[in-house]
Symmetry: C2
Subunit: 380 residues, 2 copies
């Protein structure tokens, strides 16, 4: 397969930064093992000489201290190892090393040629602002809950929230196709309810449908949502695979904004020494896969995400990434009037604020609750 | 949606056992929060009275000590919450609680009605023994590597291994559709090479093809493998989603045995306090999804899986699970003559031994290396 010059690859390489533990010798040994594990997974001394060890095996580009007993290793990989597949790219980036404690992916930088293999976000921040007609303030989103309510009751809720001024109203991530509110009944009812509210308010509230589903039903459900008049899709990449986000984003006949949901994936970030950084799991990866907004749990809520974890996600959602547009960080929870100055400091004005069960805490009139939240946001 | 009796559900409930941290009061509070988080995700005091809190919210069935500062909570959920979807079942079992340190899924027990929603393993241990013609000893499997070799070279390797007596020869999990050895060229070549060896030996070595791929290409690649004469499929559920295993297992026009691969999923088990147990990630889940063998890393190798972790996987692969047959645990690595007695003690004779790069360590003649491994196995 090698060309006339004996090369196997173009020479273009993407880079992954790993956080490693131990003293310098241990970290260097781990880094070398990662280079092999993530590519050839083969005894190095038995590799045939030539382009496989020279090009295909990962290359340790640098190893620098990152605190006491911690090291930052930059490893480069030939773009060809990823085969232009999101699944295989993730396999090279973390793959078997996910089973190795003390190896954590901190960030990655792809080449333009590799980025070109992925559609990226179709809307991004600018597109979502255009669709919702919200120019400067944070976007407001809530969820239809609790699971167990009938489709008709969820549609009433949707109507009330849209009437009050929410910009996006989404399905709860646990509501899929239960007999309490079957998908084929719920989605048209909620879409109609929100369209009716929009006709009254003149606003453009988007109904965002949860299409987290058996893999062979995701596209079908998304197209049903589109036909019903829904305005967006939500999917949980840890349940369906990140590549399913890519599949939805790439579908020009859908052309709907996508929210990624963090359920089932938290194990990648619960340890500061393993898995991935918050920036990678909630920033780089959803954006690369094509999500337009990335939901995660806000600091100061019922999950232990720190303020810095959240700031890191916000930065990753907008940092330069080839031609890919910035996407919205979508922190869930923790919205009270007193917290607004700090939220603005962490996220700026470019975020999508998700208020779920908390919308019901303010009183029984959901339209009024949405109005109050909108007033807060308009003051931001 | 409630029937005449005001009920929302059938009353059938499945059970999940969580390992929790802290003193008894803290563990009980966490358990209660899990019951809510995994279902309605809604302020409990604001739920409408009646069947939603009574039936839809998870129910803490028991809380018992599990060591100093550790508790075992058994929570039951209405089967209807899972909607007969593997994706949603995983969402109820772990979902958002994956973001919460100190909550770990230890095991789960489904009802027969819920199990009936999933095809389960088509072959299991008995089916794989029938296909390979191996009656009593452990099955032997190796991988075609390293990434970077051309299809022709990989096919030669496949031929040599099959000639020497390997029962399964699989693609390396990092080899997908790279330009070094494109899928459409590699798979027919390797299948043909193994068929040629089988014709000579009279054995039934299976070529197991890696179909870990962009989600919209998985089935297409699997059918190409089938047409080419391959004998099995391998897929990484953490990359493609567990439901993709279900999709492959359910496809009667394929009817090929499936090996699940652990790449990218290790973050669920790297901490003993979070994520899932080894039994769940490598035992219950692949089996429920329909894998016939579950690959994981053997104890004493380059990853820190303990002997007890591996024994737990082996037990989960065969423990009663409704109508689902037992599947093969497939430990990778660590096979030397001296270790055989201990391997037999942990796994019995019912396992699939995966030897990857180590097959090349024994010398340049791969057929001879396979013969030596087969002799060891036949002595088991």
């Amino acid at each position: 397969m090698s060309g006339e010059n004996g090369r196997l690859t173009s020479g273009e390489r993407f880079r992954v930064e790993y956080l490693l533990q131990g003293d310098e010798a241990a970290a260097r040994a781990t880094a070398r093992e990662v280079c092999v594990e993530q590519t050839v997974e083969f005894p190095e001394d038995l590799l045939p000489r030539g382009p496989i060890p020279d090009e295909v095996v990962g290359r340790l580009e640098s190893l620098v201290p990152a605190g006491p007993g911690r090291w930052r290793a930059e490893v480069s990989y030939a773009v060809e190892t990823a085969a232009g597949e999101l699944t295989q790219l993730l396999n090279v980036i973390l793959g078997n090393s996910s089973m190795r404690p003390g190896v954590r992916v901190e960030r990655f930088v792809l080449t333009d040629s590799l980025l070109a293999a992925f559609p990226g976000p179709r809307f991004g921040r600018a597109g979502l602002r255009r669709l919702t007609g919200v120019e400067r303030r944070p976007l407001l989103c809530t969820a239809l809950k609790p699971m167990g309510l009938a489709a008709r009751a969820l549609a009433e809720q949707a109507h009330a929230f849209a009437l009050g001024g929410m910009d996006l109203v989404k399905d709860d991530h646990g509501v899929t196709d239960q007999r309490f509110s079957p998908y084929a009944e719920r989605v048209p009812r909620c879409a109609e309810a929100i369209a009716r509210a929009n006709a009254r308010t003149g606003r453009s509230c988007l109904y965002v449908v949860n299409v987290t589903a058996p893999v062979d039903q995701v596209l079908e459900r998304a197209h049903l949502a589109k036909r019903a008049g829904a305005g967006g899709l939500m999917i949980a990449p840890a349940l369906c695979g990140f590549d399913t986000v890519r599949l939805l984003a790439a579908d020009a006949s859908l052309a709907m904004p996508i929210l990624s949901h963090p359920t089932f994936g938290g194990s990648y970030v619960t340890s500061p020494q393993n898995g991935m950084s918050h920036a990678v799991l909630y920033g780089h990866l959803p954006r690369l896969a094509g999500a337009d907004a990335t939901i995660f749990v806000n600091y100061g809520g019922r999950f232990p995400f720190s303020r810095e974890d959240c700031a890191e996600i916000a930065r990753a959602s907008a940092a330069p990434m080839g031609r890919l547009p910035a996407i919205f960080p979508a922190p869930g929870g923790g919205m009270t009037a007193e917290r607004i100055p700090d939220l603005l400091e962490v996220y700026g004005r470019d975020f999508l604020l998700l208020v779920g069960g908390g919308m019901h805490r303010l009183g029984p009139d959901l339209t009024e609750n949405a109005r109050r939240l909108l007033q807060l946001a308009e003051g931001m």
